[in-house]
């Protein structure tokens, strides 16, 4: 099987899926596609360019708040609001990147820097009156309104938007990988000094990775805002969410294209399966799903640190295209 056929087969299956499944599986699929998308976006920084960001929820939150505020105040449809949302998040990302790279904050220290900025922003939003502070921000909802441009409508609309975002993100990552920039990222990930010595502008390439990743992530935030219609700084900027974003690509395979998608499928199904099973047994156990996530991560890191996808690709005899 070639990667291309697998991709087309999966896409075809996902396109017809809503006709085959009920409301709950559709909601799970939306979740899977949303996390696959966010994973793809995060993977551009960590998987491609080797920049460990643990504050990606910052871009989700900024994107969500900007687009939601513009919709609530001026009625700006989500599709247009996504542009300023992405601009704000990208500027934030570039600011953090520029500071971090200029001051040579590397590795785990860079990760801490991203956490610090995300947490800093969380506390700011908690105290910002005009976005509702810690009591949250709510989008106006009109019943019966259907408008793809404003991201208003039934779950099936959100399903196709999530699918389009995941597929679009995947294709963008795939084409970026084959550009000069993509190869520069890989060179930097493997050894920044050698990359610099062979003429790669390390600073600019890293900044490009941050820009692409933060812009894509903020669009995920716009989706979040209009899908859930509510946001609390406590949740949307929390470190737990940053970690949720990075689990799928790590478990699926860092730096691979299919990794975030596969990881998101496996994790979400594991998580939903556990919750469903416990509910069936009459046990409400907050934290059980996350314990399963943690165990999955532990198993992958100790047994198959390159992730599930490289292992699966070998079994399926898929070349390095994935």
């Amino acid at each position: 099987m070639s990667a291309r056929n697998l991709l087309l087969g999966l896409l075809a299956l996902l396109v017809v899926a809503p006709a085959l499944v009920g409301a709950y599986p559709l909601a799970v699929l939306i979740l899977i596609l949303h996390y696959a998308y966010l994973g793809i976006a995060w993977n551009v920084m960590m998987g491609f360019a080797g920049l460990l960001s643990l504050g990606h929820t910052l871009y989700v939150g900024l994107g969500a708040y900007v687009a939601a505020a513009l919709y609530a105040s001026f009625g700006l449809p989500a599709l247009l609001g996504a542009i300023p949302a992405a601009i704000v998040a990208t500027l934030a990302g570039l600011g953090i990147g520029a500071l971090g790279f200029r001051f040579r904050v590397n590795g785990v220290y860079f990760a801490l820097l991203t956490i610090a900025f995300a947490e800093f922003t969380r506390i700011l939003f908690d105290h910002m009156g005009w976005t509702g502070g810690s009591s949250g921000f709510f989008l106006p909802v009109e019943h019966g309104q259907v408008s793809p441009v404003a991201l208003r409508g039934p779950p099936i609309l959100f399903y196709y938007v999530a699918l389009a975002m995941a597929a679009g993100g995947f294709m963008l990552a795939r084409s970026l990988m084959r550009t000069r920039l993509g190869y520069a990222w890989l060179a930097i990930r493997e050894d920044p000094d050698s990359a610099a010595a062979s003429g790669v502008d390390v600073f600019r390439a890293r900044m490009a990775a941050v820009a692409v990743s933060s812009a894509l992530t903020s669009l995920g935030g716009v989706f979040y805002a209009f899908y859930y219609n509510n946001m609390y700084p406590e949740q949307i900027f929390s470190m737990a969410r940053s970690i949720e974003i990075i689990l799928a690509p790590i478990i699926g395979g860092l730096g691979t294209l299919f990794g975030p998608v596969l990881g998101s499928f496996v994790l979400t199904l594991l998580g939903e399966g556990t919750t469903g099973l416990l509910e069936h047994l009459g046990l409400a156990a907050p934290g059980a799903k996350q314990v399963i996530y943690g165990v999955a991560l532990l198993v992958i890191v100790t047994v198959q640190p390159a992730g599930l996808w490289p292992w699966l690709a070998k079994r399926l005899r898929i070349g390095r295209d994935g």
């Binding site: 790590i250 996350q290 314990v291 943690g294």
Partner: protein, 287 residues
Amino acid sequence: MTVYLDIVASGVLTGLVYGLMALGLSVIFGVVRVVNFAHGELTVAAMYMAWVLAGSLGVDPILTLPLIAAALFAVGYALQRHLVEPFIGRPEHEQFMLLLAVSIIMLNGLLLAFGPDARHVPVDYAYDSIELGPMLLDTVRVYAAAAAVALALGLYLFFRFTDLGTAIRACADNLLGAQVVGLDVRRLYALAFGLGCALVGASGTLMVLMRDATPILAVQLTLLAFIVVIIGGLGSMAGALVGGVLIGVSEALAGFVLMPSLKSLFSYGLLILVLLLRPEGLMGRRA
């Protein structure tokens, strides 16, 4: 004016306990070179141990401190021996992911075991205070800080004057040299990890006197330990205590002058500045 004096004093005392917790992180990183991302989770686990022991035996947490520290030592030793050891020499991000997994499992395991509610450990002297000149100090904080300083001093003496402490320092300073002279590096690493966790156990037990235990506190405490250690300088023992005091005082002041919920804003702001301007920390040596 004396109210400020009281607040600063209370910040110093709390900060010394933060410092002790951060010291654990510093010892683990300084020797094993692994960033313990599950630090706050281990601290909260120690807090729950103190809560359970206080509830079932009715003993003061300070008395159970040696027991809890010993338990955490065993946890740390086992963690290093069975999980972390194979990761020595692997890429930094893989080590990080391993400890991230440990932290996720521990945090949510605590949530499963104890639920999300805050657990309070009552002590007789909870509302007592000690008068010191013009200042009024909380008795709990004085006890906790005194214990923290005593333990930090003990740790210093251990590293400075015992053979085992010297051997562990040798591993930290020159791994190859330590192997050449025949030190059992694997055992020493496990001891160092255990020692770091014992400090966590001690600081968690002291922390429970000042704060209620909840699983969610773990994330804050992990970040707090990082902030303290980075501000003080990774690997610097005095730095961890100084960093702890600095954060303790700045949080206490910000909580009083502005709003309690804004207090961490200053810690994160300080962390950003230190990361950018002086990544080796205020007390660390330049690499």
